[in-house]
Structures are given as structure tokens and as C-alpha cells.
């Protein structure tokens, strides 16, 4: 396929660096660094103790090497664990935010200034280790919805944070979750009170800017009984020759009859076509359907990162609870992704749906890894899994590892899988009808991803379609 390989050359559009004076803690990790981070965030004693406990656990753990990805050793002492743009310590209004930061987010398509705000979407903008602005906080407060940086929530809503932090992803869950628990800096905290349907889409935009740093954000979302919230995260980073570590933890808790819809558009810098640079995206995301009839739905569109290692999952504890996972993962150039989900069925009549679409182009390697576990008490549980892979060109790879563990004979499991290849004949067919080669690829890929895109909030479905077009632009000629 001569033309197909020729094109995998689309420059990353968000690779600029913001020239801003930053305060960066010297590289290295030890208890003093953790104390320093905790002090900078003005945290109470219990939080510091929690971090130190996680750190001591982490020291005893080792980096997981079971994922189907390859990378050199990470020197955890060479990373700086805290970087923040220098500004006044406490911001009362957006007027006090450095204009460079506002411009940065504007350039990324995330306007945070009052007059330019996205309608219907509240945004928490996180730059390196700190949240620089959270829009619509006051409006949301009228409904009792708390939406703020987690560092602020630790100070202002300690009871809620203490009650739920680490209950879905324990500090010793895995190597990267333990590391995150020790050093996490910012991220978002959301609490939706009983019976409230959150009136806005909530979203957090994560931007890595400083070099030789990692980003370790922590997000905690609690949907109280009968509430509903839709949350979206986006992310990007400058183009750098070095690999940067991003190890986040996201915890969701849905109580009785509550619903959380969590969407991700992940566009971290993927590295260049030779595989130099790019983000290591090692993330633990898990939701707990703690209450009866609760529902958690994960939708992810993953186009960035040099290496992705993430399995957003659901613990279906409440009877009749529902877990969903819809994923599009794209690997181009030399990107590697090992991603999928875990659905743990505990409650009766729990249901889960998994729809995974992997697209590999260039020399990309795409792995779906999923676990469906039906526990003894999960009478009448059901799972439907569908894993589709698409290959563009002949130097990329697609792999599928579905794990199924059923301990209750009433369970009903369905699994479908397919692999297809965009070939010259398919492209030629569309071109013969008058479509350009780019439009042809875009149409084929969008059709392939349709079942996932329709799950995204309207405002972001268009963005996802566009992003996919950019990521694959030139994959086929």
C-alpha cells in the first residue's frame, strides 16, 4: 500500500509551550517533597498522613509490566512532582489570573473568560499542578452542586472528601494509583446533591506545560441519590523530546438511582513519527455503582499519548445497577495503547455493556484488554461486549484480550469481536464517488466509531469527530 504509509504525518496542533514563570519543585520524590506539596496546598493533617501512607505503600510496589506496551525504564527521581505558574496565592476572580494562562486555554479552544464561556458547560482549567480557574461555580452552587478544584474541596468540604476519597481506588490499588495518592496535585471535585439534575455539563481541561514534570491529577465525583451529572475531561501537552508521565486517578460514586456520565477526549502529545517524546498516560479510573438502580457510563476517545494504560471500570454493587464503557482508541505513528475496562458484577440483575473500537495506523499498536467478572451473588447479571479493530496500513497491530470470570450460573454473557482493514479498495470506492481521500478515510472511520460517538455529549461529539480526522489525516493516500 504505497500511498497509505506515505501520509502518517500530521503535526500535533496543541504542541506549543506557554512562556510563563513557573515555580517547579526540584526533581525527586521523598517524604519531604510530599510534605512540601501538602503544605503548598494548605492541606489538613489527615490528608498529609493519607499521602504518606500511600507513599510508603508505593515504595514496596513495583511497576506493572504486564501491559502489551514497550518503553524504557522510568526514573521516578528525575521527575518534578509539582509545577505551578507563579501568581498570587489566592484568586478571588478571573481578573487576577495571568492573561498568558487565559490565552493558553483560549488557544486550546477552552475560553474561560466570562464573556466567552462555552454555553452550558462549566470548566475547571488545570495547568500543570494547579487549577487556574473554575467557571460557573456560583451558578452551580445555587443548585447545591459543588464543582471545584480538589485542593479547595479538601479544605472546604473535608467531610465529603474524607468519606469517599480512596473508597473506589484504594491507595494500594496499583503502582500508579499509589504514586498518584502520594503526590496528586489538582483535579476536580464534584458533588451533586440528592435529586438534582446538574444543569450544566461539567468539564475539566488538563494542560501539561512545564518540562521534566509529571501531572498527577485526582478527580472525585459523587452523585447522591437520584441525581444526574455529565462530566467531560480534555487534555493536551507541548511537543517535547522527553517522555512525560501522567498518572491520574479518577473515582466516581453513584448512590441509589443516581447516574454519572463521564466522557474523556484524550489528546496528550503522542510523540513524533519516530516515537520520540510523548506522554505516558498511566491512569486508573473506576466508578462504583454503590446504590440500587444506579448507572455509570464511561465514554472515551483516546487519540493522544505515546503510551496509554487505562481501564476505566465499574463496580456494580447496587442491585439493578448498570455499567457502560464506550471507547475509541487511535494509535498512529509509534503510539501504543493497552486499554479497555473492568466490569465487576456484585449486585443482582446488574448489567454491563462494553463497546470498544480500536484503530491502528502507521506503526501503532492497539490492545483491548477487558475483564468481566460476575461474582457469586450477582444473580441474573448480564454483559454484552463488542470489540472491533480497524487497521490502516500493514505495519500496525491490533490485539484483543478479553478476560471472563463467571461465578454465578445465571449470568448471560455475549461477546462479539471483529477486525477489519481499511484498504485501497474501500478508499477507491469512495473516491470513485467523488469524495477526496481524506474525506473517504474520515467517513469510514466515523462510521466505524458511530456507536461510541453517539454516546458523547452533543457539544463534544463534533470535537471528537474533528480530532479523529486530524489524528488520522494523511493515514491513507
Amino acid at each position: 500500500m504505497t500511498g497509505i504509509e506515505a501520509h502518517v504525518q500530521q503535526p500535533y496542533k496543541y504542541g506549543f509551550v506557554t512562556d510563563i514563570e513557573s515555580e517547579v519543585v526540584p526533581a525527586g520524590l521523598n517524604e519531604d517533597v510530599i510534605r512540601l506539596i501538602s503544605a503548598k496546598k494548605g492541606e489538613p493533617e489527615w490528608m498529609l498522613d493519607w499521602r504518606l501512607k500511600a507513599y510508603r505503600n508505593w515504595l514496596k510496589m513495583s511497576e506493572p509490566h504486564w501491559p502489551n506496551v514497550k518503553y524504557g525504564p522510568i526514573d521516578y527521581q528525575a521527575i518534578s512532582y509539582y509545577a505551578a505558574p507563579k501568581q498570587r496565592p489566592k484568586l478571588d476572580s478571573l481578573d487576577q489570573v495571568d492573561p498568558k494562562l487565559i490565552q493558553t486555554f483560549e488557544k486550546l479552544g477552552i475560553p474561560i473568560e466570562e464573556q466567552k464561556r462555552l454555553t452550558g458547560v462549566a470548566v475547571d482549567a488545570v495547568f500543570d499542578s494547579v487549577s487556574v480557574a473554575t467557571t460557573f461555580q456560583a451558578e452551580l452552587a445555587k443548585y447545591g452542586v459543588i464543582f471545584m478544584p480538589i485542593s479547595q474541596a479538601i479544605r472546604e468540604h473535608a467531610d465529603l472528601v474524607q468519606q469517599y476519597l480512596g473508597t473506589v481506588v484504594p491507595t494500594n490499588d496499583n503502582f500508579f494509583a499509589a504514586l498518584n495518592s502520594a503526590v496528586f496535585t489538582d483535579g476536580s471535585f464534584v458533588y451533586v446533591p440528592k435529586g438534582v439534575r446538574c444543569p450544566l455539563e461539567l468539564s475539566t481541561y488538563f494542560r501539561i506545560n512545564a518540562s521534566s514534570t509529571g501531572q498527577f491529577e485526582r478527580t472525585l465525583i459523587i452523585a447522591d441519590e437520584g441525581s444526574y451529572v455529565s462530566y467531560l475531561e480534555g487534555c493536551s501537552a507541548p511537543m517535547r523530546d522527553e517522555n512525560q508521565l501522567h498518572a491520574a486517578v479518577v473515582e466516581l460514586v453513584a448512590l441509589d438511582n443516581a447516574q454519572i456520565k463521564y466522557s474523556t477526549i484524550q489528546n496528550w502529545y503522542p510523540g513524533d513519527e519516530e516515537g520520540k517524546g510523548g506522554i505516558y498516560n498511566f491512569v486508573t479510573k473506576r466508578g462504583k455503582c454503590a446504590g440500587r438502580n444506579s448507572k455509570i457510563s464511561w465514554t472515551q476517545v483516546e487519540t493522544g499519548s505515546a503510551i496509554t494504560w487505562k481501564y476505566p471500570g465499574c463496580i456494580l454493587q447496587g442491585d439493578n445497577s448498570i455499567g457502560e464503557f464506550y471507547s475509541v482508541a487511535v494509535t498512529s505513528h509509534r503510539q501504543q495503547a493497552d486499554t479497555g475496562t473492568k466490569m465487576i458484577h456484585l449486585g443482582k440483575n446488574t448489567r454491563s455493556t462494553i463497546v470498544s473500537k480500536g484503530i491502528s495506523a502507521g506503526r501503532g499498536q492497539n490492545t483491548y484488554r477487558g475483564l468481566v467478572k460476575i461474582m457469586k451473588g450477582a444473580e441474573g447479571a448480564r454483559n454484552y461486549s463488542q470489540c472491533d479493530s480497524m487497521l490502516i496500513g500493514d505495519k500496525c497491530g491490533a490485539h484483543t484480550f478479553p478476560y471472563i470470570d463467571v461465578r454465578n450460573s445465571t449470568a448471560i454473557m455475549e461477546h462479539e469481536a471483529s477486525t477489519s482493514k481499511i484498504g485501497e479498495d474501500q478508499i477507491f470506492y469512495l473516491r470513485q464517488r467523488g469524495l477526496s481521500a481524506e474525506d473517504a478515510v474520515s467517513m469510514i472511520v466515523n462510521g466505524f466509531c458511530k456507536e461510541v460517538f453517539k454516546e458523547l455529549p452533543m457539544e463534544f461529539a463534533v470535537e471528537a469527530t474533528r480530532l479523529l480526522g486530524i489524528s488520522l489525516e494523511g493515514s491513507v493516500g
Partner: protein, 257 residues
Amino acid sequence: MAKDRALLEVKGLRVAVAGNEILKGVDLTIRDGEVHAIMGPNGSGKSTLAQVLAGHPAYEVLGGSATYDGKDLLDLDPEERAREGVFLAFQYPVEIRGITNSYFLRSALNAIRRTKGEPELDPLDFLQVLERKLKTIGWDDAMMNRPVNEGFSGGEKKRNEILQLAVLEPRLAILDETDSGLDIDALKTVAQAVNQLRGPNRSFLIVTHYQRLLNYIKPDVVHVLADGRIVKTGGPELALELEAKGYDWLRDGAMVS
């Protein structure tokens, strides 16, 4: 005098696939409104001719020329040819998941309309155009909201090609073995639609192995392709002669000449 102008003029066309020369010097002239049939045994190069005229990248032109409407056809990208009015009804139409026939067809039509400087059609306008076309060929819209060719039977796929032809209104329609895999009823349905689409501003190049399609679509000219060359050209009666005698007598003739 439109009838006398050559819409397509192919001269000495030589084409290779994966290094094997398949077409060894094809000459062919099609005027506006004419229906030409290309017949020939398997492996004679019929489908290669259809594919190379449409611009499939796997076919390498070794020599010769193809002029379409005064332009060097071989110099145009496949999509440019399509927008200029060259349409290929595929022998093996591909499937496109998740994209409805109606969306696909509207995108294609709009790409062609943009080239002509005509305004694009929104879904409602398109629906009207579509309904008019369906009426012309006497079909219903049952296929329109299904994903392109996905789960279609062989006959449905071929019908879908003809429906696209109807909507995109090409000046030169190339039908590559559209009759293969069709039962007699489906064959008649397709042939009737094609007859409805004939007109002074639309020429056809019908590639077929068997004469039976030509019972329903009467060609103006019949060519016989053997071993990469057109070895005989005649009127509709030539097709009947082939049906009676097979291809061998021509192949021998080709070797003698």
C-alpha cells in the same frame, strides 16, 4: 452534432497489474449517448479496462492515452474523474459500516455539485432529488437508511450501484459485470433501470462476460476483448454470435491477425 463528438477516446492503452501487462494496446471511441458493450473471456482484461478508466491506483499505465471530454483522463485523480462525470458500477461494491446509504450518497452528490459550482443539498433537498430518481427507475427507498452495502445480498449491492448511478447522473457510466451473480428477475430490474437512465448526454460502457444482459440493454456497439486487445467490433448481432460460438474462434483469429 453532439452525437459525433467523442466523449472518450482511448488509444493504444497498455496497463499492467503487479508487473503483468494485462492491456496490450486498447483503442476505443465512445460518443455522447452511445452504449458500448465489452465482452470477452475471463482474464481478457475487461475489468482492468473498467478499473483503469476509473483510476484505481493499483493499475499501472504503461503507455497510450485516454481523453475524456477533451481532458487527459489518466492525469486526473479518481475523485476528479468522478466529479467530471465518470462513474464505475463496481463488480464487488464495498461495505461501509455505520454510514447510511442516504448520507453517503448525499456526500458524494455534494462533492460533485461543488465541482460544478452548484449549491450543496441539505438532507431535505436531497430527499426530494432521491425520491424523483427512485420514481424514474421504479424502486422504493428501502435501502436508503441501511449502512452502505452492509448485509446486502449480491443482488441488492448491484441494485445499489445502479441507484447511485441514477442519483449522481454521470456522463460516462461504466458497468463492470453488473450482471454477475444476478438471477433473471434481478437482471431484468437492473436492465430496466439502466434503460431509463439512457439519454443523449449519457454514454455507457458495459463490461460483461455473458450476452444475456444485452438481451435487455441493447448496445450500439459491441467489442470483443481478448488477451488485452480489442479483436473485433460490431453491432448488437456480434453479441449473439458470441453466444452461439463462444470466444475460441476469436482468440484464434486474434492470433492470426
